[in-house]
Symmetry: D2
Subunit: 298 residues, 4 copies
């Protein structure tokens, strides 16, 4: 049985579990994800993002557009998110797109726009990083870094995230098992960063009626396996704005620590993922219901 | 566009949409499931089972053991289910088992035991039918007939269920699309029985940590597509008793009209599916939480 | 460890492994599919259908239309199948259709047409049964009974097939594991019929480009697990006629004992599954390639 | 309709289809993968790796151990691969491992060992790159770069591969649709590198008996969609050495341009993926059968 120490309060501290590059040094463990495991760490970890506590029993909503498009639009979205009751702002500047010919995001040029939206709204910001070289520059601006589904097993990126001084929102790969997901977190943890939030966003399945198959069972399941918080992304999970609020409420009822939701003041003008964005009004209504459900279950 | 009339109050009435056995008579329709569709039937159907209304806004819980084993045990289970707050009793007499060498249920001999448990507890009973020849004898005792996942596309059975004077709990096939499920209901509806409740129970997926992948998104999705009620079976959906209550609560939050749950007074003595059964205490606790969530969302 | 005897030459003989309806009598076994298993039966079973041997090293092709439509068309198809090199004729009279409003097959009225086509062509015939009550009447005419994917776990039907005096073509359920499939065969075997051929026809998956995902790996895998022959249905497996011949050849190269292929003299006139039917010319060309590959591997 | 020119003989040439970082510049196309598409490029592309032609009608086998472990062992493996009839050597120096505590490969230190094995055996070498920063140093040694399943949608890596002066073996993501795979190739093509070989390696599915579900149908399907060659990796596709040869032969029968196979002189001593490696003897036997099947189909 492997032993390892980590301290959720000091994400900077480097683990001594350096990856082995020599066969004979490979570490084996009876618990394959010993740092993420709840076994040696029974109390739940609370991750704090720009002052907002995630994992402490009160659900947190991250909302915003799929991608940062213009300064005006991201500020408008941030103010709308805050007015609707969201506590963090999402907005992509690097957009992983299936086709090289689709809009790829503004890149680094989008970061000042995010910072501006934060200044105007007071909401901490979350944005995606797609390669290790971008972790540092993005971490200078963003309050939390997101690792997207396609990169859940991008191990160099996970290691870089493990050396960042920012919390990480780790999305589930779209055909990843729970164990693979925990081990992806273990890559980050083993580099010294224990400020990790799991984010379920649906797995690939056979029914064309929804974009993905949202796996809410992973929420109570992860609670038995890990001390880290779990959020849910119903927007990618179902891919249809009309079903997002019901699934957001269900996620909270299943025990999720919060949601990340695509919200756009004018969904039909969104440059990407227009079908799954909800309006600020729908967001406000969903947050009201989440609060009632959360209170009913406390 | 096809037109068809049906009346949810008269399950006995035969539809004039008889199945065609001559190519030239095959009926085509722009809405492939015209009788199940919400389009021509905007108001929600309420299905009444032994006096219990399902689909009327108050969640209903069906609970009981996987299979009827002895008279004493099914009566004990029925009383425990009622005490915990359940409104209907489940218990299988015909058990579809993967192996021919597993316990197959008591068969017709189990029906009087179910009737006795109903008499003792006052709870209407739900049990599975596996072939068309069994529909009539089972319908003489049971208050609702269940068609299991493996039989969702057993078309002769669906037709026989369509001619039965009992409500039908139609479970989703474990790799069935929503459209296939709606069309399976259409087989029943087109024979004249419109007392149908859909029951989600998880689809097959790749992660060995849970028995199936519970698809709660189908709950709000079906609400947009059909006027028929939708229940959820978290027991088969996740296959682990410790995760059942959280997913039951989540299902109600997603809008389900009720749950069907495996409950056993002594789960470790169950002859089948012991891992997924919950105790009467866990059931009572889950029902209390369901009621709070349901009230919070009304 | 369970012991059971069976003799592949006497499908009529009833097994003494009657299904238990009493909990205490349930039989357990260390090999869950002891009659199908290769362990106690190392030599391969050869199934003979109307004089055609399947499993003996020479691949056999079953071809014909999805459904029997008219006497003229089924005779034309049978003669075309024979001319192309097929050794058995397929043609459905009971058609399991997703929608109750689709053409459901001619039913019993189709059997004399099949018999006529056999008389004209000399090809033994294979057709599907969908419920236990139909096993006997269909077995009076058909040389082999097919149990379709949707009915792979229709246990009353499997038992009835186990009492039939005809070989059974047992298709894989579209989300069935290999073990579940072997256990479905065990239902037939335990009733005394050991003339069973497994038929892979694709499993459900996520890519909309093909109808199903053809699992050819099951061919060599089953060869390690069971003594029974294995055929492949590339037509349902891929759902596109242009890809059928390549996958038919690949199936034989993987070790399959034969193929069942949808062939229609005029695919665009087919009342069902027109996209996946191939022409007699394409069938002849595929059979020629199969023979060359089979010879190269002997 | 988008137009783009590319020339399969000049992988270095940069496409003028630079990715857009400004919304209004996003390029749209009626054919989503216009450079990979067979439509405007009917003749098949032949990719030449260290003098070995892939896609020209004669199947090519890449063989070798999962990972480069020591100089002696990789040289032994290379000589054994050549003796068995393989034409290229595989061997990983960067190993994407699910757990951070598993052996991660020798890293850059493994490259001189690969070069040494090439010098001793005369076989060109193929090895994986996991991040864009490693593309250049690895391309200095390797004859072909492999992009693994987990990185199929690592877009910065794909772009870097598009700027490399080496052919790319692009493995399919384990839940990637064919269209997503073609678009991943499009990322490489749009940077100017058209020396791409697709490599099917199984998709994730529900049956625990095999590691993945090998999708051989993608072989003839891709042949209709793209001009680029297609290889198959039966080792990861099935995960069991005993099934690899049959599936390798089936892949060639389905039309694959070659195979990549894990072969280890002493499979039980392999540091990773020991179960799926085959011996040099099994490799030689499989190659002999492949040649006979390939000749039979020409």
């Amino acid at each position: 049985m492997m032993t390892a120490t980590h301290d959720s309060a000091t994400p900077d501290e480097r683990s001594r579990l350096a990856p082995s590059q020599h066969p004979e040094e490979a570490i084996t463990s009876s618990a394959p994800y010993c740092l993420a495991s709840r076994e040696g760490h029974p109390e739940k970890t609370i991750v704090t993002v720009g002052g907002v506590r995630i994992g402490g029993g009160v659900p947190v909503v991250i909302a915003g557009p799929c991608s940062v498009e213009t300064e005006d639009s991201i500020i408008e979205a941030a103010l709308a998110a805050r007015a609707a009751g969201a506590q963090l702002l999402r907005g992509g500047v690097f957009k992983p797109r299936t086709s090289p010919y689709s809009f790829q995001g503004l890149g680094l040029a989008g970061l000042p726009l995010l910072a501006r939206a934060r200044a105007e709204s007071g909401l901490p910001v979350v944005t995606e990083v797609m390669e290790s070289a971008m972790v540092e520059p993005v971490a200078e601006v963003a309050d939390m870094l997101q690792i997207g589904s396609r990169n859940m097993q991008n191990f160099p990126l996970l290691r870089a995230a493990g050396r960042a001084n920012r919390p990480i929102l780790l999305k589930r790969g779209f055909a990843a098992t729970i164990e693979e997901w925990l081990l992806a977190a273990e890559y980050i943890l083993s580099e010294g960063n224990s400020q990790i939030i799991f984010c379920e966003r649906g797995v690939r399945s056979f029914d064309p009626m929804t974009r993905n198959l949202l796996d809410l069972t992973c929420v109570p399941l992860l609670a038995t396996l890990t001390h880290l918080p779990v959020m849910v992304d119903p927007s990618h999970g179902v891919g249809r704005g009309d079903l997002v609020p019901a699934m957001g409420v269900a996620a909270i009822a299943a025990g999720a620590d919060g949601l990340i939701v695509e919200m756009h003041p004018h969904p039909d003008q969104s440059l990407s993922d227009a079908d799954q964005a909800i309006t600020p009004q729908a967001l406000a209504s969903m947050i009201a219901r989440i609060e009632r459900v959360s209170a009913a279950l406390r």
